[in-house]
Amino acid sequence: MAKRHVTTTVNGEPREFLCEVDQTLLDALRDELGLTGSKEGCGSGDCGACSVMLDGRLVCACLALAVEAEGREVETIEGMAEGERLHPLQRTFLEEAALQCGICTPGFLVAAKALLDRDLDPSETEIRYWLAGNLCRCTGYDKIVRAVQKAAAEMRAEA
């Protein structure tokens, strides 16, 4: 079957790519656009390692079709830092040792940013439920939750 041409915006930049009709957004990001920061842990929307923002909404890129990106805005982990300036979450994840192997980290960061974008003062329980769609097998989540709390506190102080 002929490939589809998709025009989209990724991390603020206009991008075009060709994809199969049944290709996932995750595969298109990774294979067509070279953005391998989003990871595939399950391919079924259970692990959250491929979390991206699609028009401001948190989605698993493995459950979205690449053609759905047409005319829309996609944000990935690669767009989270502003130049050399890390997002506060990226910094606190490093400071709090909130990653061990790091495979789930991009997904957690994208998901946590989506939380803090709508609520700068989430409770621990809210953080835990918001991040319940992201699996981490290394950390037991303790340091991840603390890193999110620390980033939120810093962002509140600056706001």
């Binding site: 953005l35 391998t36 920061g37 040792a97 192997c101 835990r128 319940a132 097998r137 950390t139 037991g140």
Partner: protein, 761 residues
């Protein structure tokens, strides 16, 4: 810890890990992130049957699919004779490994690889997989360990005769071996007991559950030289195992380790790597294979399901006089469960004069089990630590006081034989006893459980190099894949020994051709062993730096000392010289003899065993059987924490994996022997909302035989949680869960069963 703070500049601090930035920006390359020009997509054909003879494989229709470049089956791998060979760090049965990677004659479990294809696109590869016709002759199967031990059970291997029993069996069976460890005299131990408790404890198979599926890219050149990029717990293991399976020499294969997205023991062997090599050899192009999650569940890992019987005797005043255990572990389709290690670990925390542990290694129609964090120990500890909880109750003793009264200490004969040297088990129990958590009030339907655990920790063959750059910064060449922050620990130890800033040291994990051999990342050996090699390499560098300074000053090298990152005259007798910094010596290295570097190759000795004690509070919902972990504290003797944050992380992550094992995770098989839950939706690992914070207490009883006191910490934390959770459930609702996971249906059934006698009254 105050000790660390005063004596060291970097050891015991918490700097940002060197590889951290790449991992928070999406730049880090994991197994599936690597690509090559002209690369083909490899896919694997897997058996849908639990047990079947492969009468034939017809690939003609698959090869006719446009874009398909190669199909391989067991025919494309040399047939390897049965028996164990020593390679790298230990014995390995390469016939079994080969047959696991690609089924020969029989498919032995649902998901067993039987063929593989390489094509120009994933779609073509998947179409080819569908068109490969495998003629299966379905055989009766067995997935349960006790059923597999029955004399009339379906037989997996006609050539398997139980080892370790006299007389040698005349009939083959699924019992690969029996092992036995004895200490003292069991009968007199039980004769001396006033109180005896016993129980049977069952755990289900669980998967390591690393988030990154296995992935490899392989490229075979026309000259037979191969390159592999993959995620593993040891690039040298991948090289040696692939070479054996493909009939090559190690020098033909170069393996570059990618970042590894979790392993926990599950990446201490190979699956897709030799298949990608075989496909590439046939197709003449690079081939990439990335497993789907269901392939990970069906064909890799998991750990053994286990059936454990425990009997413990003690005097009225709480002295344990005898411990007896029988462990039956299913190994999956090929022998090699970790039952021997389980036998050795179960009673290890205790000073008991009379111990017997018997283990059976049993094959069943399930994927070949792989190591999982302290392999074998959690199932044994579940039995022993549950029994000790019953014992404490019978004796009217506090369960931690019971453990303290029987704690193994320096000089105690370990249950597996030898005497312990310096250990910190009692200190972990004392720390748990004095922790505020242990006295906190509990509400209705809430209970508190405690349990301890042991792991040997290991050393082994290890290399490291320390290169001084021309500007005085340094590179640590760390031969072991970094799963949990070990590069930070190596940089800390290098900075400490050289006396320079942490930020001036950059560690790398190179390919197999760039650093001498090292054993795998596993067994809690890396910070211990590679750290030791880094320190030795650093000392060689310092010796060289003193030589260089001596040349510049025209004095004897013995007259030069290295202090705080500078060469100084040892005394005023040597002469008056301004100190020479590492930077100054590096910048002048051309004048003094060329580049400065140190390398160490060691067989790391002096491991110190690790012990942990966990305290867990749960609430049981009597209506649903649901269990909520309310509070959790993990105490462990860590020797000395090089980077405390990553040590705490090991305790937290291990504890949560153990909680998952205790509460949710299990392999569920259908009547037909197929895996029913090969995905994260139905195989439920703990998520953030299931858990509280995991408190940690790092007890530091330094290992005197490591330059910085390291013991190794990664394995121990998964050992206590199974019993800590089960004991907490018992104290919350009075029902002892002898069968894990204590998932809501299973716990509810147990609660209902406990209620029945009341209803009858």
């Amino acid at each position: 810890m105050s000790d660390s703070a005063s004596r060291f500049k970097w050891v015991g601090t918490r700097p940002v890990r060197p590889d951290g930035l790449d991992k928070v920006t999406g730049r880090a390359n994991f197994g599936a992130d690597f690509t090559m020009p002209g690369m083909l997509v490899g896919r694997i054909v897997r058996s849908p049957h639990a047990h079947a003879r492969i009468a034939g494989i017809d690939a003609s229709a698959a090869l006719a699919v446009p874009g398909v470049k190669a199909v391989v089956t067991a025919e494309d791998f040399p047939e390897i004779p049965d028996g164990e060979l020593m390679v790298g760090e230990g014995p390995m049965n390469f016939r079994d490994l080969s047959c696991n990677v690609m089924a020969r004659d029989k498919a032995l479990y649902d998901g067993h690889a039987v063929a593989a294809v390489a094509a120009t696109s994933r779609a073509a590869a998947e179409e080819a997989v569908d068109r490969i016709r495998v003629d299966y002759e379905v055989l009766p199967h067995v997935v349960d360990v006790l059923e597999a031990m029955e004399p009339d059970a379906p037989l997996l291997h006609e050539t398997m005769f139980t080892e370790g029993v006299e007389p040698k069996p005349e009939r083959p069976s699924n019992v690969a071996s029996r092992c036995e460890f004895t200490l003292g005299d069991l009968d007199s131990g039980f004769a001396a007991a006033d109180v005896v408790v016993e129980g049977e404890y069952v755990t289900e198979a669980v998967h390591q559950g690393y988030i990154e599926p296995h992935a490899a890219v392989a490229s075979v050149g026309e000259d037979g030289q191969c390159t592999v990029w993959c995620s593993s717990q040891g690039q040298f293991m991948v090289r040696a195992y692939c070479a054996k399976l493909l009939g090559m020499e190690n020098s033909q294969i170069r393996v570059t380790p990618s970042e590894i997205g979790g392993g926990f023991g599950g990446k201490t062997t190979i699956y897709v790597e030799p298949v990608a090599l075989a496909l590439s050899r046939k197709a003449g192009r690079p081939v990439k294979i990335v497993m789907d999650r269901d392939e990970v569940f069906r064909a890799t890992g998991p750990t053994s399901s286990a059936h454990v019987k425990v009997r413990v005797g003690a005097t009225r005043d709480g002295k344990i006089t005898a411990g007896d255990a029988e462990l039956r572990f299913q190994a999956g389709a090929f022998s090699g469960s970790h039952v021997q290690l389980g036998c050795m670990c179960g009673f290890a925390p205790y000073d008991i004069d009379n111990v017997r542990t018997v283990g059976y290694d049993v094959v069943v129609n399930r994927p070949k089990c792989a190591a999982y964090r302290a392999p074998g120990a959690p199932m044994a500890a579940f039995g022993v630590e549950s029994a000790l909880d019953d014992l404490a109750e019978k004796l009217g003793m506090d369960p931690l006081e019971l453990r303290l009264a029987n704690a193994a200490r320096e000089g105690t004969k370990a249950a597996y034989g030898p005497k312990f040297r310096e250990i910190g088990y009692a200190e972990t129990v004392e720390a748990a006893l004095s922790h505020e958590h242990y006295r906190a009030k509990l509400g209705p339907n809430q209970g508190r459980g405690v349990a301890s655990g042991f792991w040997f920790n290991i050393g082994g063959q290890t290399s490291a190099a320390l290169h001084i750059n021309e500007d005085g910064t340094a590179v640590v060449v760390d031969p072991n894949p970094d799963i949990g922050g070990s590069r930070a620990s190596m940089a800390i130890m290098a900075a400490e020994v050289l006396g320079i800033d942490y930020d001036r040291v950059r560690p790398i994990v190179p390919d197999t051709s760039s650093v001498p051999y090292s054993d795998m990342t596993g067994g809690s050996r890396v910070t211990f062993s590679v750290g030791m090699a880094v320190v030795e390499a650093g000392q060689k560098v310092i010796e060289e730096l003193r030589n260089r300074a001596a040349k510049i000053w025209d004095v004897d090298p013995d007259g030069v000392v290295w202090e705080n990152g500078e060469a100084r005259p040892a005394s005023s007798n040597v002469g008056e010289f301004e100190p020479l910094s590492l930077t100054a010596l590096a910048e002048s290295s051309a004048k003094t003899g060329g580049p400065i570097s140190g390398q160490a190759t060691i067989n790391a000795r002096g491991v110190g065993p690790g012990f942990g004690t966990h305290v867990c509070d749960v609430e049981v919902d009597p209506e649903t059987g649901g269990v909520t972990v309310l509070r959790y504290t993990a105490v462990q003797d860590v020797g000395r924490a090089i980077h405390p944050s990553y040590v705490e992380g090991q305790l937290q992550g291990g504890a949560v994996q153990g909680i998952g094992w205790a509460l949710n995770e299990e392999y569920v098989y259908s009547e037909a022997g197929t895996l029913e839950n090969p995905g994260f939706l139905d195989y439920r690992v703990p998520v953030a909302s299931d858990l509280p914070m995991i408190d940690t207490v790092l007890v530091e009883v330094p290992n005197p035989r490591h330059p910085y006191g390291v013991r190794g910490v990664g394995e121990v934390p998964i050992v206590p949680p199974l019993a800590a959770v089960a004991n907490a459930i018992y104290h919350a609702c009075g029902t002892r869960m002898n069968h894990l996971p204590a998932s809501p249906p299973r716990l509810l059934a147990a609660l209902d069963a406990a209620k029945l006698p009341e209803a009858a009254d």
